[in-house]
C-alpha cells in the first residue's frame, strides 16, 4: 500500500517539476533541468528505497526528453549528444539511489540493534534481581512470549542427577503448549546435543516450535522453546532469541549457585547445632546416669557397709538423677515434636486461673521458701489454647524463675487483659538476663553465660517459644524493674467469639 503511494508521489513530483519549468516558462539550460530531475530520485531513494528511485529516474528521463529536448513533445532526439546526457543522468541517479538506500538501511539496522541491545540490557538487569528460580523462569518465558507474541516454555532437569528435561515454566497457564510428547522429545534432543532444532532450522524444520539450548561456557542448563506456528524467524530475531537464551542461562546458573550456597550454609548451621546437641545431651545424660549407676552399684555391692542414713542419701541421689534424666528426655522429645511439625494443638477453652493452680502444684516441691504471689485481674476471659502445652510453658517458666532466684525471694505471676490480648507475666528476683541475651535465650541449646554452675540443656525456653508461636502469641524477656531479676511476658490472643466469663455470673438462680 505504501509502495503505491510512493509511486504516486514520485509521478506527481515529476509532473509538477515539468509543469513549473515548461509552462511557467522558467527557462533554464536543459543540462540544469536534467540536474533538477535528480531531486525526486534522491528523495525517493532516502524515503522509499531503490525501486521507487529507479522509477523516478526513468520518469525523469522521459519527461526531460519529451518536454525539454528538441524536437519538443516527442521522444525522438535530434542531437545525439543528449544521449550521452541521458546515460550520465542515469548513472548518477543509480549511484545516488543505491547509496542513499544503503545509508537508510544501515540507519534502520543500527536503530534496530540499539533497540535490541537496550531491551536485552533491561532484561538482563531484571533477571539479575531474581533470587527464586521459578520467578526467574516465569519472567523469561513472559519476555519471550511478549517479544514474539506467542507461547514460550523453559525446560530444565528436575535435579542434578536427572538427564531428562521437563517443562519448568510456561508463558501461559491456559495453553499447555510445550508439555506434549513431541515437544518434550525435541527439547530433550536439544538438551543432549546442545544444538538448536525445530522451526526454520535444519533439524525438524517443519515443526511449529523452535528450541534453543540454554548454554553457558561449561554446559547446557536447559532448553528454551518458542511456538512459532508457521512463521520463520529472521536472522536478527534469531540472534535476539539466542542472546536472550544466553542471559537466561547465566541467570539460572547464578540463582542455582546462590541456592546451593544457601543450602551449604544451612548444612553448616545444622552441623553446628548437631554438635551442640551432642555435647549438651551427652553431658546432661551422662551426669545423672553416672549418679544412678554409681549409687545403685554401691548399694548392691556394699549393702552391709552403709548406715540407714547413707542408704537414704544414695537413694535420694538416684531419684534426683532419674528425675533429671526424665526432664531431659521430655524436653528432647518436646523439641523434636516441635521441629518436625508433629506437635498439633488440641485447642479448647482454657481457664488461666485453673492453669496457674496446676502449675503451682507441679512446682510445689521446688518452691521451698520463695514467696509466690498470684495477681489475677478479675476480667480475665477463657482463651482458646492447648491446655496441656500452655501449662507446660508456664511450668517451664516458673521452674526457671525458681531455679535462677535465691531462696526467700519473691516470684509473682500476673495475668491481665490488654486490648484483645491476655498477658501473663512471671517475674523473679534472680540472676536476671543480660540485654544481649534477651533474644538468643529462646534459641535452642543457648544458655546465658550467667547460668554458670546451674545445669540445664537450654531447651526449656526454646520449647516455650515454639508452643507460644503455635498459639499465635509472643513470649519475651524483660528486666524486672523492681530491683534485679527477670520478667517473662507471654502475650496470647483473646478470641473474638468469646463468651465472657462474667456473663455467666448469676445467669442461674438457685
Amino acid at each position: 500500500m505504501e509502495r503505491h503511494w510512493a509511486y504516486a508521489w514520485v509521478t506527481l513530483a515529476v509532473a509538477l517539476l515539468t509543469y513549473i519549468f515548461k509552462d511557467l516558462g522558467l527557462s533554464f539550460d536543459p543540462a540544469n533541468i536534467a540536474l533538477i530531475y535528480l531531486l525526486p530520485v534522491l528523495l525517493s531513494a532516502v524515503y522509499w528505497g531503490k525501486g521507487v528511485s529507479y522509477y523516478a529516474a526513468g520518469l525523469g528521463v522521459l519527461a526531460f526528453d519529451f518536454f525539454f529536448v528538441p524536437p519538443f513533445l516527442s521522444f525522438s532526439v535530434s542531437d545525439l549528444r543528449y544521449l550521452v546526457s541521458f546515460i550520465v543522468y542515469f548513472t548518477v541517479a543509480a549511484l545516488t539511489a543505491s547509496l542513499a538506500a544503503r545509508l537508510k538501511r544501515e540507519l534502520q539496522y543500527s536503530k534496530l540493534k540499539e533497540a535490541q541491545t537496550a531491551s536485552l540490557y533491561a532484561i538482563s538487569k531484571q533477571l539479575s534481581a531474581f533470587t527464586d528460580i521459578q520467578a526467574l523462569l516465569h519472567n523469561v518465558t513472559a519476555q519471550v512470549s511478549d517479544t514474539f507474541q506467542t507461547e514460550a516454555a523453559i525446560y530444565l532437569t528436575a535435579n542434578k542427577e536427572e538427564d531428562e528435561v521437563r517443562v519448568a515454566a510456561a508463558s501461559s497457564a491456559a495453553s499447555n503448549w510445550g508439555s506434549g510428547e513431541a515437544e518434550l522429545v525435541i527439547a530433550n534432543w536439544v538438551y543432549r546435543q546442545g544444538r538448536m532444532a525445530g522451526r526454520g532450522t535444519t533439524m525438524l524444520g517443519e515443526t511449529t516450535g523452535l528450541y534453543i539450548p540454554l548454554r553457558t561456557e561449561e554446559h547446557i542448563h536447559g532448553v528454551l522453546g518458542v511456538n512459532l506456528g508457521t512463521a520463520v524467524l529472521t536472522a536478527d530475531q534469531l540472534r535476539f532469541l539466542e542472546a536472550l537464551g544466553g542471559l537466561a542461562a547465566s541467570a539460572i546458573v547464578r540463582v542455582k549457585l546462590s541456592e546451593e550456597a544457601k543450602l551449604a550454609h544451612l548444612t553448616a548451621e545444622s552441623e553446628r547445632i548437631r554438635t551442640a546437641i551432642l555435647d549438651s545431651v551427652s553431658h546432661e545424660l551422662r551426669t545423672p546416669l553416672a549418679a544412678l549407676i554409681g549409687s545403685a552399684g554401691a548399694l548392691i555391692e556394699g549393702d552391709s557397709l552403709f548406715s540407714a542414713e547413707d542408704r537414704m542419701s544414695l537413694l535420694t541421689t538416684m531419684q534426683e538423677g532419674a528425675l533429671r534424666m526424665n526432664r531431659l528426655v521430655s524436653n528432647l522429645l518436646g523439641i523434636v515434636q516441635l521441629e518436625s511439625g508433629m506437635l498439633k494443638l488440641r485447642s479448647k477453652w482454657c481457664d488461666i486461673e485453673d492453669m496457674i493452680g496446676v502449675v503451682l502444684k507441679q512446682v510445689e516441691a521446688s518452691i521451698s521458701h520463695r514467696r509466690v504471689r498470684v495477681e489475677l485481674s478479675t476480667d480475665i476471659p477463657l482463651i482458646q489454647g492447648d491446655e496441656v502445652l500452655l501449662e507446660q510453658v508456664l511450668t517451664n517458666v516458673m521452674s526457671n524463675a525458681i531455679k535462677y532466684s535465691p531462696d526467700y525471694s519473691a516470684i509473682t505471676i500476673r495475668a491481665q487483659v490488654e486490648g484483645r490480648s491476655l498477658i501473663l507475666m512471671v517475674s523473679d528476683q534472680g540472676l536476671g538476663i543480660a540485654a544481649n541475651d534477651r533474644e538468643r535465650i529462646f534459641d535452642k541449646f543457648y544458655r546465658s553465660a550467667r547460668t554458670g554452675h546451674l545445669t540445664g540443656t537450654g531447651l526449656g525456653l526454646a520449647i516455650c517459644k515454639g508452643i507460644i508461636d503455635l498459639h499465635g502469641g509472643i513470649i519475651e524477656v524483660m528486666p524486672n524493674e523492681e530491683g534485679q531479676g527477670t520478667i517473662i511476658a507471654i502475650t496470647l490472643p483473646i478470641q473474638q467469639e468469646q463468651v465472657v466469663k462474667s456473663h455467666q455470673e448469676g445467669m442461674e438462680q438457685e
Binding site: 532419674a322 526424665n326 521430655s330 522429645l333 515434636q337 488440641r346 479448647k348 477453652w349 482454657c350 481457664d351 486461673e353 485453673d354 492453669m355 496457674i356 493452680g357 496446676v358 503451682l360 502444684k361 498470684v374 489475677l376 477463657l382 492447648d386 491446655e387 496441656v388 501449662e391 463468651v499 466469663k501 455467666q504 455470673e505 442461674e508 438462680q509 438457685e510
Partner: protein, 233 residues
C-alpha cells in the same frame, strides 16, 4: 489401710519385665497379691480365668493395643482397670477413661501415687451401700437433702454447681473426664459452648469452696483430661 485392700489380687499387664518386677516387688511389699501377664492376649486370658480384684494395664503393648485389651475385658466385667501411659499421650488417656478405665497413672510414676490410685479404685468397688452424707474434712455433702456445708456453714450452690460437685465428690479420688462430666450434667450430646460452661462452673464452684482458687484443695484439674475430687487426709 482398710480391710478391703488386704490381699487384693492385682493383675499387671505390661510387656516391660523391669516395670513388672518393680510393680511386683513394691506392691507385694504393700500386701497385694500380684499376677503378671506380658502380652495383651495373655492378660485377657488370665483375667477371664482368674478374675483379679484390679488390673494394671499398660496402654503401649506390642501385640494387642492396650485400648483393645481394655474393651475386651470390659465386655464381661466391670472390675477396676488402671491404665499406665506415657506422658505425652493425652488423647489415649481420654479414650481409655471414656471407654471404661477407672483411672490412669503416667509413666514415670511415683509408687505413692500408684498405690493411692489403687486404693481409691478398690474402695469404690467395695462401697456397696451408698451413704447419704459425704464428708471430706470440713466439707459435707448431704445427698438426701441436697445440702452442702463448709466449716459448718451452708454453701449456696446453683443446681448445675451442685450436680457437678455431687458427681465429682461421689467419685472422690478418681479422675472424671470433661466428657463424662458434660454427659452426666448436661446429658446427651455436648457442644463446644457447653465445654466452655464447664470451665466457668468449675471456676464458680472453686470460688465458693476453695480458700485460694489457684491452690485448690477439693477440685483439682488434670490438665487436658478432666478433674479429680481430692480425698481429704
Amino acid at each position: 489401710m482398710t480391710a478391703s485392700d488386704k490381699g487384693a489380687r492385682i493383675l499387671v499387664i505390661d510387656d516391660e519385665p523391669q516395670i513388672r518386677k518393680l510393680l511386683k516387688v513394691t506392691l507385694t511389699a504393700h500386701h497385694f497379691d500380684i499376677e503378671e501377664a506380658s502380652t495383651g492376649e495373655e492378660g485377657i486370658t488370665q483375667a477371664s480365668m482368674h478374675p483379679p480384684d484390679l488390673i494394671l494395664l499398660d496402654l503401649g503393648l506390642p501385640d494387642v493395643q492396650g485400648l483393645e485389651v481394655m474393651r475386651r475385658i470390659r465386655e464381661w466385667t466391670s472390675l477396676p482397670i488402671i491404665v499406665l501411659t506415657a506422658k505425652d499421650r493425652e488423647a489415649d488417656k481420654i479414650i481409655a477413661l471414656d471407654s471404661g478405665a477407672d483411672d490412669y497413672v503416667t509413666k514415670p510414676f511415683g509408687m505413692g501415687e500408684l498405690i493411692a490410685r489403687i486404693r481409691v479404685s478398690l474402695r469404690h468397688v467395695a462401697k456397696t451401700v451408698s451413704e447419704p452424707v459425704l464428708r471430706f474434712g470440713l466439707l459435707s455433702i448431704d445427698l438426701a437433702h441436697r445440702l452442702v456445708e463448709l466449716n459448718g456453714e451452708r454453701v449456696k450452690l446453683t443446681p448445675t454447681e451442685y450436680d457437678l460437685l455431687k458427681i465429682l465428690a461421689s467419685n472422690a479420688g478418681k479422675v472424671i473426664t470433661q466428657r463424662q462430666l458434660l454427659q452426666q450434667v448436661w446429658g446427651g450430646h455436648t457442644t463446644e459452648t457447653e465445654a466452655h460452661y464447664l470451665r466457668v462452673y468449675i471456676g464458680h464452684l472453686r470460688k465458693k469452696l476453695e480458700e485460694d482458687s489457684t491452690r485448690p484443695r477439693f477440685i483439682v484439674t488434670e490438665p487436658g483430661i478432666g478433674y479429680r475430687f481430692q480425698m481429704q487426709d
